[in-house]
């Protein structure tokens, strides 16, 4: 007979307690965590948006309900409207055009067959360097990325100098600055996604097309593109959701120009003493937009996987 260790029999004792209906209790800690720190704040945000709560003073304790006043104020604020428009521009240019396009281009180049000889070796090394740099840009903490971009777009900063400009780039062209920094930051995700999608196309399809005399463009347009179409859609929706909610890098670059994006607008309102409730109203309006995007994504994912 096998001798059982003390710990092992103790484990069995505990295990029997949790058997049967009790096992479901193991869900409780996770649901409590998410319930208290994710679901409840979201519900609270809705309640808060109908009150006159303020961070200090009498209204911090004796706040009351004031109906839709905060929503009306927010919707008639042109700064808010502009920030939402800017957020859309920011998302279209930095995510859909910048990250997705660059990510696909890099993935295609990585997949390309390289020539023999010295040129091939050079290209191979450059490929590794490029992919590594793109990857590192994506993994360093966001605050560092923000700081580095702020510094190189300062007066006399590396990028400002290269462009031959005298003034701070992030002050004269704030939207463009945060767009190029966000392309830099997020391209890696699209690149990795497209690399995986291209990987799944079997080689013989390319070879067959090559034998049939298809030009590179024809091969891309009629073979690669249809086969990675679903990856492009998934990529577009995910990067749209993420980019729409981007806060940290623009916040750090544009310290002196708040409210250019809706996220920065919400933060500015949230930290000004009398306006957290108004910030909550703005946040809830944006939450509806984000939620709509997420639902589109889920529906699509369901269709792609054939669940729905």
């Amino acid at each position: 007979m096998q001798k059982r260790s003390l710990t092992s029999s103790l484990l069995d004792r505990i295990v029997t307690i949790f058997e049967g209906g009790f096992a479901r209790l193991l869900l409780v800690p996770a649901l409590a965590f998410i319930g208290i720190f994710v679901v409840f704040p979201l519900v609270w945000s809705v309640i808060l948006s109908f009150t006159d709560y303020s961070l200090i003073g009498r209204r911090a304790v004796e706040w009351g309900f004031i109906g839709f006043t905060n929503y009306i104020r927010i919707l008639s604020d042109t700064v808010f409207r502009d920030s939402v428009i800017n957020s859309f521009l920011f998302t279209i240019f930095s995510a859909l055009i910048g990250q997705a396009f660059l990510g696909l281009a890099i993935a295609l180049v990585v997949r390309m067959k390289l020539p023999e000889g010295p040129l091939g070796t050079v290209l191979k090394i450059l490929k590794v360097i490029a992919v590594t740099l793109v990857f590192i840009s994506w993994v360093i903490p966001e605050v560092i990325a923000g700081y580095a971009w702020a510094a190189i777009t300062e007066k006399g900063g590396l990028l400002t100098k290269l462009l031959g400009l005298e003034e701070r780039l992030y002050l004269t062209r704030p939207l463009e600055t945060i767009i190029i920094s966000n392309i830099w930051r997020g391209t890696a995700f699209s690149m990795i996604l497209f690399m995986a999608a291209l990987e799944s196309i079997p080689n013989y399809i390319y070879e067959a097309a090559e034998i049939d005399g298809a030009t590179p463009w024809q091969r891309f347009r009629h073979i690669v593109l249809p086969l990675i179409a679903h990856a492009i859609i998934v990529d577009f929706i995910l990067i749209t959701i993420w980019t729409f909610g981007v806060f940290t890098i623009p916040f750090i670059i544009l310290r002196e120009q708040p409210s250019i994006l809706w996220t920065l607008y919400v933060y500015t309102k949230a930290t000004s003493i009398y306006e957290p409730a108004r910030a909550a109203a703005a946040a809830n309006i944006m939450f509806i937009i984000v939620l709509a995007l997420i639902i589109v994504y889920l529906k699509l994912l369901g269709r792609l996987r054939g669940w729905s």
Binding site: L11, V15, F40, L133, V143, A151, G157, W184, A231, V290
Partner: protein
Amino acid sequence: MRREELIANIMVLIFLLGIIFYFSLPLTWLILSSLDPGATTPEFRIPSRISLENYARLVEPVGKVPPYRWIINSLIIATASATLTTIVSLLAAFVFTRYSFRGQQSMLTAFVIFRLIPPLLIALPLMTLFKMWNLMNSMQALILVLSALVMPFTLLMMESCFRSIPVTYEEAAMTDGCSRLGAFLRVTLPLAAPGLVSVWLLAFVYSWGEFIIPLMIIKLPELYPAAVGLYFFFGQYGRIEYGKLSAFSIVYAIPMVIIFFITQKYLQRGIAGLVSR
């Protein structure tokens, strides 16, 4: 080589050089200024002498707190919340994959939604709640919040990890007299170990980099995690010492870069899973 092929390859060469140039701009500046003891402005210059002085000066206080303290805070916060998240989501993932109950599918869908919500939308109400509950400046509370915020993500990861291990192994152990949880702990868990490690590392990375949540609920400089410390150092403090800041950034970035290179395979597999049909 044919002519068109040569032209194509040269275009690829130019493209790659362009990518390398663009993506190395901020990194080049960070590294160069961190090694330049005279870098006190954002002005770009080639260092006249290379030294590690800026790194050594991270023990000098900024305001009242030496910057290395913020790195230690981050280490504590990230380690604690990653461990907590891993344990809690391990328990939940066990129930999710080994039992079936009402509302299971809608819970999983809810987790996907939570995972995609911008953290700002949670940070704002949390700040007002924490003000009322007197939890501002509490590191323990911050650890709990960060654990909860990454949980939808780790739970889904853990769930798919357990699902990929055939239940038949466990059933075999159960036929041999193991209890259900016993079989899970003795058979499935060891098989899932690499997945568990990557869940822990990802949760660590999340807390290590998170900025907006601690920014809104931690207001005491000695309790700042590195992300908020760096911002405070940069954004709020009178004269900015760029060289020292860059050195701090590099120290702060290194663990994350190492972890990502270790988990690269899992990460790629996870992203590839998004597009597999």
